[in-house]
């Protein structure tokens, strides 16, 4: 898309690691302060989307292929719901994380960490899926036209 704009390409390449690190910071800071899986997922997806906007959507698809995105969406939900099932199997109420660790506090900490990981995966991949679908519409229309 913007292959000729050197400044943009260099700046984006510099920014990408910072955005991704920031996403991880927001992700793991979620249990202590503002943040969490949702915001982190959006930030991480924003990094890939920025990459896709500057280097072209096909390049972005090489980094995170659509098949991976399509698997990640249900996987995150499954991790979230599965954490609850784990607490059921350990004899407590659904989504009660206390039995997951040696002490209830540790269990709660671990539980929310895993659940947030699930949220991160689903939110990031859903954002990407939306971007791919809208960004790729022109290509897909061409492909379909070619087949027909």
């Amino acid at each position: 898309m913007m292959r000729d704009t050197v400044i943009l390409r260099v700046v984006v390449k510099l920014l990408l690691p910072a955005i991704l690190i920031f996403a991880l910071y927001v992700q793991f800071h979620g249990d202590y302060g503002p943040g969490g899986g949702f915001q982190a997922g959006v930030a991480a997806a924003a990094a890939i989307i920025l990459y896709g906007m500057v280097f072209g959507i096909d390049e972005a698809r090489k980094v995170v292929p659509r098949s991976v995105v399509n698997t990640m969406i249900p996987l995150g939900v499954l991790i979230f719901a599965g954490t609850g099932v784990a607490s059921l199997l350990l004899g407590e109420n659904y989504l009660d994380y206390s039995p997951l660790g040696s002490k209830p506090v540790k269990g709660q900490h671990l539980g929310i960490l895993v659940v947030e990981a699930g949220v991160f995966i689903t939110v990031a991949s859903t954002m990407l899926a939306i971007f791919y679908v809208f960004g790729g519409r022109a290509d897909e229309a061409d492909e379909k036209g070619g087949e027909g």
């Binding site: 399509n70 969406i73 249900p74 996987l75 499954l78 719901a81 059921l88 659904y94 009660d96 206390s98």
Partner: protein
């Protein structure tokens, strides 16, 4: 141990199954998962019913956080009744889904369809079982978003605009509901329904609470398709795939009716408050208009699916009529008809799915003479149609009987007359189908069709049998409805 966690499992089973379907992305595996999850959910509902009958109200603290701070799942006779209807209707529909879905969609789309179906089921069960007002909104959105997709997957391109129309109206409804809940929260500082039920009656004459009442009334009435807020419904049912129409007709509006009962009878303080507002009179008038206007419009439809969609609006009128009496007999009638109509209408849309599968049309003119070509399908539609009219020996008769009883109890003879005339209009449009299907020469299209496949007929006939069974033995349907009605009037929760 398992029995203790039934309230969570009721929602978690379909919730876990939905992403599994999406992960495998194979039509057949998706269908197997959906059948297993739905049958397990039905088993969970039965388990919950047994527990409620034995030990009374069940409270389940989500995540171990004690209510009213934590989210509570609360099961009493009223919502276990609705849970049974939702999971039961789903359990019959989902085996039926395979034939039509496999014939139309590729592998991936089939899996997505089952994912959406399971999410809709999760949402509807969640709305019904939860005891937390905000949780209701979240589950309502889950079920609505999933059903928009399910409607848009119809074979007619108009399904897209129908889904869009429903999306707009549904979102307006959901927004109104969340505004209402927000106002209640602002006034009481709690979202727990049982807690709200204790605090609201003391302040139910304050302006914010009355505003909340207004928002909730309009929001929920949109969702339950009360006349004149029903305009999203006919197109949505008419152009959606048969599975979607059958499932939504049997469950979505019924859950909205449950919400209505829960908010107005439980949260706002029993029957006393409800009858102190102008709501009963408003609902009485709107219900009667729905019964007549929607039935009359149904009479002039050429698309049979659309005809029965309008008939749904009319039948919802019968249910809200029962609610508007604010008596035990009236509420019993409403709950009974909620149950019976779910079974009959789901059955009709399934059989029409069979017609669509063979004939590729449900237009009245194309269905000429089809009674001879598809005797079982049309026979089923006729039996269920007789149920809608309220013929003795079908479950529809029981509902009508109770509504008439409730009207007589209030000495409203003119209402009895109106109910009978409305049933007469039902007879006219069902009669129109019978006339076309049995007494006309087969149309060019109908000449070459065969009976619908057994995989579609058998599930539909389960509902036909249920319509006759619940017309003869009313211990379960009316018995439970009567107890639930008494609890509602007393404001028990």
């Amino acid at each position: 141990m398992l029995a203790q966690h039934l309230p969570a499992l009721q929602v978690v089973i379909p919730l876990l199954a939905a992403p599994l379907c999406a992960l495998f992305r194979r039509g057949f595996i998706g269908w197997l998962i959906a059948v297993a999850a739905n049958w397990l959910a039905f088993a969970a509902s039965i388990g919950l019913l047994i527990r409620v009958l034995n030990e009374g109200v069940i409270s389940y603290a989500m995540g171990g956080w004690a209510p009213p701070i934590g989210i509570e799942y609360r099961v009493d006779l009223i919502n276990v009744f609705v849970l049974l209807v939702v999971s039961g209707v789903g359990a019959v529909i989902i085996p039926f889904a395979r034939t039509g879905t496999a014939a139309r969609f590729n592998d991936t789309d089939q899996a997505w369809f089952y994912t959406m179906y399971l999410l809709a089921l999760t949402g509807l069960l969640g709305v019904t079982i939860t005891g937390d007002a905000f949780n209701i909104f979240v589950f309502l959105e889950i079920s609505s978003l999933a059903s928009y997709v399910m409607i848009a997957m119809g074979r007619d391109r108009r399904a897209l605009t129908a889904a869009y129309q429903y999306l707009i109206m549904g979102t307006v409804g959901a927004t109104f509901i969340v505004i209402g809940i927000g106002l209640l929260w602002a006034m009481t500082g709690t979202l727990n329904l049982a807690d709200l039920a204790q605090r609201i009656p003391e302040i139910n004459d304050t302006r914010p609470v009355l505003a909340a009442l207004a928002f909730l009334t309009v929001g929920i009435s949109l969702k339950l398709a009360l006349f004149p807020l029903h305009l999203w419904l006919p197109n949505a049912y008419a152009y959606a795939p048969a599975v979607t129409s059958a499932f939504l007709a049997g469950t979505a509006t019924k859950v909205a009716i449950y919400l209505f009962l829960r908010f107005f009878y439980t949260v706002f303080g029993g029957g006393g408050f409800f009858s102190s507002t102008p709501l009963p009179e408003m609902f009485l008038v709107l219900s009667i208009v729905a019964m007549f206007a929607a039935s009359t419009v149904a009479l002039f439809q050429d698309d049979v699916k659309r005809m029965f969609a309008y008939s749904s609006v009319a039948q919802i009128g019968f249910i809200t009529l029962g609610i508007s009496f604010v008596t035990e007999a009236g509420l019993t009638a409403a709950m009974t008809h909620l149950f019976n109509h779910a079974i009959m209408k789901a059955g009709i849309f399934m059989l029409l799915g069979g017609v669509m599968f063979r004939l590729a049309s449900v237009k009245l003119e194309d269905m000429a003479g089809i009674g001879r070509k598809m005797p079982f399908t049309m026979g089923g539609i006729v039996i269920l149609g007789l149920g809608l009219i309220g013929t003795p020996g079908t479950s529809g008769f029981i509902s009508k009987w109770w509504i008439v009883l409730a009207a007589l109890e209030k000495d409203q003879w003119w209402l009895v007359a109106l109910i009978l005339v409305a049933s007469l209009i039902t007879m006219l449009y069902v009669g129109r189908i019978v006339e076309v299907a049995y007494f006309r020469e087969p149309s060019a299209k109908a000449a070459s069709v065969r009976e619908a496949p057994l995989a579609m007929l058998i599930p539909a006939y389960v509902l036909v049998a249920a319509t006759i069974y619940f017309g003869l033995d009313t211990n379960w349907s009316v018995g439970l409805a009567q107890q639930a009605a008494a609890d509602l009037l007393a404001g028990l929760y």
